[in-house]
């Protein structure tokens, strides 16, 4: 009880150094408890901004929220010689990019001539795509062109890579090339 009374603003105002009641005497629990939420993060991970190619350093703060790992803050990494902790508006919005409600998290399927999306399991989708790749490859396989060996398919094309990791581009190029697909392109041409 006593501690409650001593924390009572009017008591503090009348007895402390803030007789006008504008500072220490009228601080609320919310104010007294204020601390950066990043201090409570379960982990902090070094990252790189996913927007342009400047490559600004980011720190990603992850906490458990309702039992789920959640990104609670992304801000600039002050150690980075590229960015020195600074971010542009896009970089500063990175937390929203990875957490926003508009992110699609389920596989969707639109059948030929269909008018709606349908749901589809991820593994089933992967099976269906693998079947289609093999089928198109067989049907459009070109062993030679004007008498010269080309061993390829012009039936499969791929676009994307500039927003992806080097390791991902590597596997894309490696697998598609082995499959004989050559129309492999990305934003660098656009």
């Amino acid at each position: 009880m006593r501690s409650w009374i001593t924390s009572w603003p009017v008591y503090r105002q009348l007895t402390g150094g803030d007789p006008l009641g504008r500072g220490a005497a009228v601080r609320s629990p919310h104010t007294d408890d204020a601390a950066p939420r990043t201090e409570q993060a379960d982990r902090v991970v070094g990252s790189v901004c996913p927007y342009c190619a400047v490559g600004c350093g980011q720190r990603v703060y992850v906490s458990q929220v309702n039992g789920t790992d959640t990104v609670t803050q992304i801000e600039g990494d002050p150690d980075s010689p590229v960015s020195r902790g600074r971010l542009c508006p896009k970089g500063a919005a990175s937390r929203q990019l990875v957490t926003h409600a508009g992110r699609q998290t389920k596989v969707l399927y639109r059948r030929p001539n269909g008018s709606e999306w349908e749901s589809l399991g991820l593994d089933q989708a992967m099976d269906m795509i693998a079947d289609r790749v093999i089928k198109v490859r067989q049907e459009t396989w070109q062993e030679s062109d004007q008498g010269k060996q080309v061993r390829r398919t012009l039936g499969i094309a791929s676009l994307g890579g500039a927003t992806l990791d080097n390791e991902e581009n590597y596997l894309i190029k490696k697998l598609w090339t082995a499959l004989g697909a050559i129309q492999i392109e990305n934003q660098a041409r656009i």
Binding site: W8, P9, V10, R12, Q13, L14, G16, G17, D18, P19, L20, G21, R22, G23, A24, A25, V26, R27, S28, P29, H30, T31, A34, A35, P36, R37, T38, E39, Q73, I74, E75, G76, P78, G85, R86, L87, C88, P89, G91, A92, A93, R95, Q96, H100, A101, G102, Q104, K106, L108, E116, W117, S119
Partner: protein, 304 residues
């Protein structure tokens, strides 16, 4: 006219407080990127973050028209408009035609103005955290409070939405939020300051247009920068809100401007609206009974 206040922090009852801190916003290097606006909203979790299934799901139409709020203002690149309950930083964009020799150039003698005369001023506005803060003076509940850093914040667990502060602010900074009725404004990231971090806007600012630090150091930096610009021929450069003798006793968030304050939408000579109110508060003892009732009521609510 205004009683000089040597140390608002000590006067607010803080023993051995940290240095008073502030923002120096050097608009001469602002690139109008609005990183400050976004970083502020992200850190302070200001409304506008999309949650739930309000716009996108696999089956929902994604081509609905944008809500009315998301419309182009037609005011250069400013679509935020003003500071408000949900916008604690606001970047103003001012497109000007200026006389020859007075263009964007800060270094070249034969500058662009000779042939063009286009100038595009950009400036990130924010709560000034006044030395004499009218919002603080008029708040009947003690929701507005001077912190140990010398900043002025609204305590959301105290504010009852009376809005006296809204009309008291000489800069029109404070605003009530539609849904909860309470007053909101920049806290200079009070929670971050308590953790030894700089405010989110200053940290993000790509060109260091927003500088954060001890007020004394900022004032010295601002004076040096002003000299630099004057030497470079930018005669209209000036500081705003930095003078402790002005009508608000100096702002903890002050600016380097390249034109008259009015051009940026800032009052040229802001005066604390409660000049005479301070005397009234000396009767604090007398007022205590009334205040106590209100405070207890608010406390009781906030503890449920």
């Amino acid at each position: 006219m205004q009683r000089p206040v040597a140390d608002v922090v000590a006067e607010a009852g803080y023993d051995d407080p940290p240095e008073r801190v502030g923002f120096f916003t050097d608009t001469s290097v602002c690139i109008g990127c609005k990183a400050c606006e976004v970083a502020c909203k992200e850190w302070n979790a200001l409304p506008g973050d999309v949650s739930g299934d309000s716009w996108a799901s696999g089956a929902a139409s994604l081509s609905a028209a944008p809500p009315d709020a998301l419309a182009l203002t037609g005011m250069s690149y400013d679509n935020t408009g003003q500071l408000g309950a949900d916008s604690w930083r606001h970047v103003a964009f001012i497109e000007q035609q200026v006389p020859a020799g007075h263009g964007t150039a800060l270094a070249l003698a034969d500058d662009v103005a000779e042939s063009d005369g286009t100038r595009w001023l950009m400036a990130s506005d924010v709560c000034k955290h006044c030395t004499h803060a009218a919002c603080l003076d008029v708040c009947p509940t003690g929701a507005l409070v001077r912190t140990e850093f010398g900043t002025v914040i609204v305590q959301p667990d105290i504010c009852n939405g009376c809005a006296y502060c809204v009309s008291a602010c000489p800069f029109g900074v404070i605003d009530r939020r539609e849904d909860d009725g309470r007053a909101w404004k920049c806290t200079m990231c009070y929670d971050r300051l308590r953790g030894g971090l700089e405010p989110a806007c200053a940290k993000a600012c790509p060109t260091d247009s927003i500088q954060f630090g001890p007020l004394d150091e900022l004032r010295a930096a601002a004076a040096a920068r002003l000299d630099e610009l004057h030497e470079a021929g930018e005669a209209s450069a000036r500081l705003y809100g930095e003078d402790p003798d002005d009508g608000i006793g100096g702002a903890a968030a002050f600016f380097l401007l390249l034109d008259e304050p009015e051009v940026y939408g800032l009052p040229p000579d802001p005066v604390v609206t409660t000049r005479d109110l301070a005397a009234m508060w000396r009767w604090a003892g007398g007022a205590a009974a009334m205040l106590a009732a209100g405070t207890v009521a608010v406390f009781a609510r906030s503890r449920v």
